[in-house]
Structure formats: C-alpha cells, structure tokens
C-alpha cells in the first residue's frame, strides 16, 4: 500500500508520480497545498518534520526527499544500474540536481509561475538565473557524449533532472539553444509509461 503526499505543480512530486507510473505501482494521492501552508501544519510535520513534499508512505513507513524516494522505489529494478560506480554516478547527478540545479531553476519557476511574484523577487532572481544557466550548461556538455546521464541507459538520474529542466521556461529560462537537452527530452518522453507533469493519472 503506497500513499503519496503530493503537491501537483511540484517537479519534486512529479518525479515520484512518473516513476510510480513507469513501475506500474498503484497508489493513493493526498493533495498537500503548500501555497496554503498545508506542509507546515502540526499533522504534516509529524509525517515530515522538515515540512516539505513529496512524502511517500509505504506500509506505514514514511520517507521524504524526492531523490531518496526515487532510490527506494527503483531499488533492484532497471531504473538503477547495477555496478557500484554506476550507482554512485546516479547519486552524483541527483545531488547535483538538488544542490546546483533545483534551488535555482525550480525556485525561479516557483517565484515567477506559481507565486506570480516576479517583480517582488526581481533582485534575487538575477543570481538564480545565472546559476541556473550554469547548471544547464553542465547538463548540455554531458549530453554531448551521452544519450542519458549514466551508462547510456534511462535511470532515476534522468527522472530527477528531467522534472524541473523540462519546465524551466516557466522560470523564464530560454532552452532554445540547448540542443542536446532538447533531444534528451524527446528520449525521456518516449519511455514506456511516460506521463506529463500535468497528468492526473
């Protein structure tokens, strides 16, 4: 029995919905409206003391942090490569995503397209945009010689990076010059049981 505490527009939550669908795992979705501070209620803080979505509940056990949840669900499946070095490379890209990518690209999207407060965040956005492009440049460079991020095979590293990259234009990032990233989008979107971030499946 799986339950996902989910905020629908969140790329971090979408990662989990995408993988659950690709693994054919059925689950209950509980909507947590973070705009209405529902991730900071006393009840939710019992589930995740860090007050963030997504949270997965599996047979009564709770797990937070999107990329840790991806790892948990994908263990012993083809979504994680087998070798120790290859698994560490998956984690390398997922830590890159949470440290160098998400705080810039997802935050710009959140301020501009979810809160609709671009003007209020005008100054702070400058650093986010510059650092976000730096992260996109690292991805574009890697994809010059690779179809996917690790072992040239679709893995949870691709899911983690795809989630916010493919909606980066909602944070006013111009992706038109990123040919390798755009070609990789098509490869991700052609995977079996792919669903979009807007899918209500």
């Amino acid at each position: 029995m799986y339950t996902l505490y989910d905020f629908s527009p969140s790329g971090n939550c979408y990662k989990i919905r995408l993988l659950l669908n690709q693994l054919g795992i059925s689950y209950e979705r509980i909507n947590v409206d973070i705009l209405n501070k529902e991730s900071r209620t006393p009840e939710f803080l019992k589930i995740n003391p860090n007050g963030r979505t997504p949270v997965l509940c599996h047979d009564g056990k709770y797990l937070a942090e999107s990329n840790a949840i991806l790892w948990y669900l994908a263990a012993h499946t083809d979504f994680i490569p087998k070798g120790n070095y290859e698994q560490a490379q998956v984690l390398q890209w997922m830590f890159f995503e949470q440290f160098s990518h998400e705080p810039n690209i997802a935050t710009a999207r959140y301020w501009i397209s979810i809160l609709n407060e671009e003007d209020e965040y005008k100054e702070a956005l400058k650093a986010k945009i510059s650092q976000g492009y730096a992260a996109l440049d690292v991805m574009e460079q890697h994809l010059q010689n690779h179809d996917y991020f690790v072992t040239n095979q679709y893995s949870i590293a691709d899911i983690a990076l795809y989630a916010y990259t493919h909606v980066a234009e909602e944070g006013k990032f111009d992706l038109s010059g990123y040919k390798r990233i755009n070609a990789w989008f098509e490869r991700v979107e052609s995977q079996k049981n792919y669903i979009s971030i807007k899918s209500q499946v």
Copy 2:
C-alpha cells in the same frame, strides 16, 4: 589507488577524509585552493565540469558530490545499513543535508570565517541564519529518540551531517541550546579512527 581533490577547510571534503580514515584506505591528497579559483581552471573542469570539490579518483574513474562519494566508498560496509528502507533513510538525511542544511550553515561559515566578509553579506546572512536554525531544529528533534540518524547505528548519514554541524559556530550559530546535537557530537567523535577537520592525516 585513490586520489582526493581536496580543499582542506571544506566540510564536504572533510566528510571524505573522515570516512577514508575510518575505512583504513590510504590515498593521495591534491590540494585545490578554491579561494584561488583552482576549482574553475580548464584542467579542473575536465575532472568535474561543475567546478566543485571534493572529487575522488579511483583507478582512473572520477566521482564528484561529497555524499555520492561517501556512498561509493561505504558500499557493502557497516557504514551503510543493509535494508532497502534503511538505505533510503540514509539518502533522505543526506539530501536533507545538501538541500536544507549545507546551503545555510556551510555558507554562513564560508562568508564569515573563510572569506572574512561578514559585513558584505550582512543582509543575505539573515535568511541563511534563520534557515540554518530550522535545519538544526529538525536534527535536534530527531535526536530526541535516536542516538544516530538511521537505525541507531553510526552511518554515512551521521558523517554527512556532522561535517558542517560541528563547525556551525564558525558561521555564528549558537549551538549551546542543542543538547541532543552536542551529545551526538560526542558519540561521533568517539568512533574508531575518528579524525578532526583540522587533522593533516
């Protein structure tokens, strides 16, 4: 053959030095002076296109991101618990560290005690301090019922969180009220083959 590309004051680099020592792995240390922009040279960017330390080289293969390196080195040792859920909990705390903890606590220390530019960052520090205390509160709460972060056994989750927490006062965080965290420091520091962040071993 292991080589660590290392910036000595960095907590992220210290994580790797501590685990390597606890595993009894000998290695070469190559100093990368990030204050002198040595992590952004064309040579270094070939090793890590994201331009950050630490980087581990093992038998010619490179790996970046401190917590991914911890995972790589600790695989199949007692520093990672065995179960799938327990392993995902280790990752949950390591992603918490890189997303909610390090960008606040390590950055305040970097600005104040490494760059010595507290005045220049006065405004930006306010948010870092507030969010850093929030991360410390999450840790203190967890340690009310646990001796260590996962399975009540010392693991790489403890190493990841210890690295910047135990020097948080260098970022002007007052840890005196965090009794559980201070007691956990003692448990970490009593581990076999523990070395301090200043050790030149």
